[in-house]
């Protein structure tokens, strides 16, 4: 649909927008579960360690699976049995909540024995009605800011086969491209990252909210322009704030969902609080959750290849783009498809460059040209980056910050910008005693500078070889209609290096954290999953 027609549709939807609430009353197991899990959180909020974090995550995940899913409660997708087992195991270390978790176990047991899910019935009826009335419709599956075990799959398995016309709205990207007559939101919406867009984005004319009584539906008020001046506002149905009936306990649990969810996921082994920035290379990074239950930390200012638009548009087949679309880490969204390396060591680019150098019998070029980098790293670790910068300044060169020196120890920046700056750096390393014995610093710097120039040429060649091969692979994937699910391993023909894979993003940490540089880009499995 062209954007003019889309916008016209958005304004039409806004003019006739209507919210219908369908509250499921008198289903006590869910009401009880919400109360008991809330009590668990109250107790655990005072404890700050990894086990408490994991336990909170498990309790939260089970509550969300029960409250937000439409699958029968016995569905293996929800993993209620397994999760309750893990909760019981961990709860032994927290005597204050043993009684609460025991009650949670009993409720879970009851639900497993009486698996009929009342939300399923309600949602099913609404979908049936939408189909009957020939309404273009969808259901929101992005119901939490993080990721809840089996939730999306439960919707697809319950609805997908019966109603292929139903759109599963699992991300902001999908919602932003949608113009529907009817959207079903099977929750109170307060944990959904899409709530504001659902209410004020004009994506639907009718929003059906299906929630349990204890979910306590409340709609966020529309953010208004500042007071003063002349104001103009059209009459519409979306501007009315709805009063909140939340309790304090809900607010506390919500706070945890907003902040604690991610902090409980960030592994302490990677994210340390007290770094010595002078003697360690630390970068601001964001944790990205991937659909194959792994995670990766990406530098905040890093750009990664993001293919979702390319895969969807198919325009790629007619005209190959010269470069791949890249997205800054801070701009990544749920449902983005990012390319990461999944085997080998170092950067993918270097690995390809190494194989090219080997072919030309120059296998030592990289290690010889960059021999000075480990010397610099040791010098920084020993003397600190601020001391080394002082020495560089005394020789007439300056940098924006002493931490920047650390980038010269990595493959991101092969060499300082000018040969004169490099000569001075090598002279400093020589003064501090880090050069090989008997080296003449001037000759050493001149020879390394020449070798680095050659090394950069190979990196450049490697870059274009990867690009061409990746383009051909993408073309093949799109032409053959290959479905890219949670993860897709790429085999790049003619490129000798480890493997690259495409991953679907399922969560992006709203906050950045300090992470050692060596942990950037390393894929790890998420224990709690």
């Amino acid at each position: 649909m062209d954007m003019f027609s889309f916008t016209t549709g958005v304004f039409k939807n806004t003019a006739r927008f209507e919210i219908r609430k369908h509250i499921i009353r008198d289903f006590s197991p869910v009401n009880e579960l919400i109360r008991e899990t809330r009590n668990c959180f109250q107790e655990l909020n005072t404890v700050e360690d990894d086990s408490a974090g994991k336990l909170k995550w498990l309790i939260w995940n089970m509550r969300q699976s029960v409250v937000l899913s439409i699958s029968p409660f016995s569905s293996p997708l929800l993993r209620i049995k397994e999760t309750i087992h893990e909760i019981e195991h961990l709860a032994k270390y927290f005597p204050n909540i043993v009684e609460n978790t025991d009650r949670v176990r009993k409720i879970a047991q009851f639900l497993l024995e009486n698996p009929e899910n009342p939300k399923r019935k309600k949602v099913g009826a609404l979908i049936e009605k939408a189909v009957e009335n020939d309404m273009e419709h969808g259901i929101v599956t992005a119901l939490t800011r993080g990721w809840t075990q089996g939730l999306e799959d439960s919707y697809i398995s319950e609805i997908g086969d019966d109603d292929p016309t139903c759109l599963f709205i699992s991300s902001a990207k999908i919602l932003n491209n949608s113009l529907l007559d009817n959207i079903i939101l099977p929750s109170d919406g307060r944990h959904s990252p899409l709530m504001y867009s659902l209410l004020f984005g004009g994506h639907t004319a009718q929003l059906d909210i299906v929630a349990y009584e204890n979910e306590q539906v409340r709609l966020p008020p529309k953010r208004s322009l500042p007071k003063g001046g002349k104001h103009f506002k059209a009459q519409d149905a979306t501007g009315q704030p709805v009063g909140s009936t939340q309790t304090d306990e809900d607010v506390r649990t919500d706070d945890w969902e907003q902040t604690g969810f991610w902090s409980s996921l960030r592994p302490a082994s990677v994210v340390k609080q007290n770094f010595n920035r002078d003697q360690q290379y630390v970068v601001r990074a964001r944790m990205i959750l991937l659909a194959d239950k792994s995670y990766v930390f990406l530098k905040e200012d890093q750009k990664v290849i993001e293919l979702s638009d390319l895969i969807e548009s198919r325009g790629f087949l007619d005209e190959k783009p010269k470069t791949f679309p890249r997205s800054a880490t801070s701009d990544l969204e749920v449902e983005d498809m990012i390319v990461l390396r999944t085997s080998g060591s170092g950067t993918y680019l270097d690995e390809v460059a190494n194989s090219l150098m080997q072919k030309d019998n120059l296998s030592d070029l990289g290690s010889t040209a960059l021999e000075w980098k480990p010397f610099l790293k040791t010098a920084l670790e020993t003397h600190g980056s601020s001391r080394i910068l002082e020495l560089l300044r005394s020789r007439g060169f300056d940098l924006c910050a002493h931490q920047y020196l650390w980038t010269w120890t990595t493959d991101e920046v092969i060499s300082p910008g000018t040969d004169s700056k490099f000569y001075e750096l090598i002279a400093i390393l020589d003064d501090l005693g880090y050069l090989p014995p008997g080296s003449d610093p001037l000759e050493y710097a001149a020879s390394k500078w020449q070798l680095m120039k050659k090394f950069k040429e190979y990196r450049h060649k490697a870059g274009s070889q990867i690009r061409t091969s990746l383009m051909n692979e993408m073309k093949r994937i799109i032409e053959n209609g290959v479905r890219i699910g949670d993860r897709f391993d790429l085999s790049l023909k003619g490129v000798s290096a480890g493997t690259l894979s495409i991953f679907r993003v399922v969560g992006v940490d709203p906050e950045t954290v300090d992470v050692p540089y060596s942990d950037i880009g390393i894929l790890r499995k998420m224990d709690a999953f």
């Binding site: 649909m1 062209d2 954007m3 003019f4 027609s5 889309f6 916008t7 016209t8 958005v10 304004f11 939807n13 806004t14 003019a15 927008f17 504001y196 867009s197 004020f200 984005g201 004009g202 529309k222 953010r223 208004s224 322009l225 500042p226 003063g228 001046g229 002349k230 104001h231 103009f232 506002k233 059209a234 009459q235 519409d236 979306t238 501007g239």
Partner: protein, 317 residues
Amino acid sequence: MLKVDRIQVQTEELGLQRLPGWAKSMILIGWWMRKHSGGSARLFMPFLLPARYCCSAFCGLGSLLNSLTKDAETVTWNEFESLENNTRIYFVHYGDLMEGTVGAFTEVNRERGRQVYVEKGPKKYQDSSLSIFPDYIQKYHVSLTPHAATKRQTKKLSKAAFFYKETVEGFNEACIDKGDVETLIVSNKAAWDRQNENISLTYKGKTHLQKITQLLMKSDNVDSGPSKTLLQSPKTAQSMEVPLVILDGPDALQNWQLFTHANIIILLSHTEYDQEAMDLISMLASCRDESIIPDKHTPNSGFPPGCESMLFAVQQT
């Protein structure tokens, strides 16, 4: 006066139809903000919308249509008469843009005219001269500053002139040739082009369609042709003096400081109106002077549903 109801739109999806209310509102806002530019009050109009796709193009069109009612500042016969010999002038002759210097007075059939020595123009006029007479001076669009359009573009623009004539009362054709940028749109260029490339407009009773980008006389830089509407990317936006600036989206909003005299329309979707945007607009609005808002005919009716807007004025510095 703007005859917005005469405008019709065609897209692949919708076919030919009357302009929807939201697009009309955007044209009216652009018209009104351009109309009140250049005074002692500098106007700001932030807009919160359910979606802002295509909105800046229609605001820009309103601004352009208003600018076509202005005095084009072409040279009158009295001014022409009083120019010193060898003064350089720019003029249009049978659609060709030409440059020359004024010379001696002549008399043909008792009518007094003045010679112009052609220095730049089509080959056939090279090293020749022509005479301009009082009755025809308007046809020549004589100006002391260069015109923007080339001959080919002038032909294209003459098609656009039919559209302008039918939709604007008081349309001054000479304004088309002037090279002044009327509106600067700061927006993601690739997205903007994608959103607007397939919108064609016409007026009631005619089926000859013209692309909105053509009607806007849009270009990406001031040197690339007749550009009444300039599109700049938020990342590379540069300061310039224009009557109206449209900041299309949150990235564009960050550039507000570049434009120190223009009236400013800010377009944001509701979801884009976050704390940062809120703080910035609050800060701008805190400098307002309630007493200098132009009080007549403020664009206070027919706002499309789901929209919120405010108007405030600050004293020109």
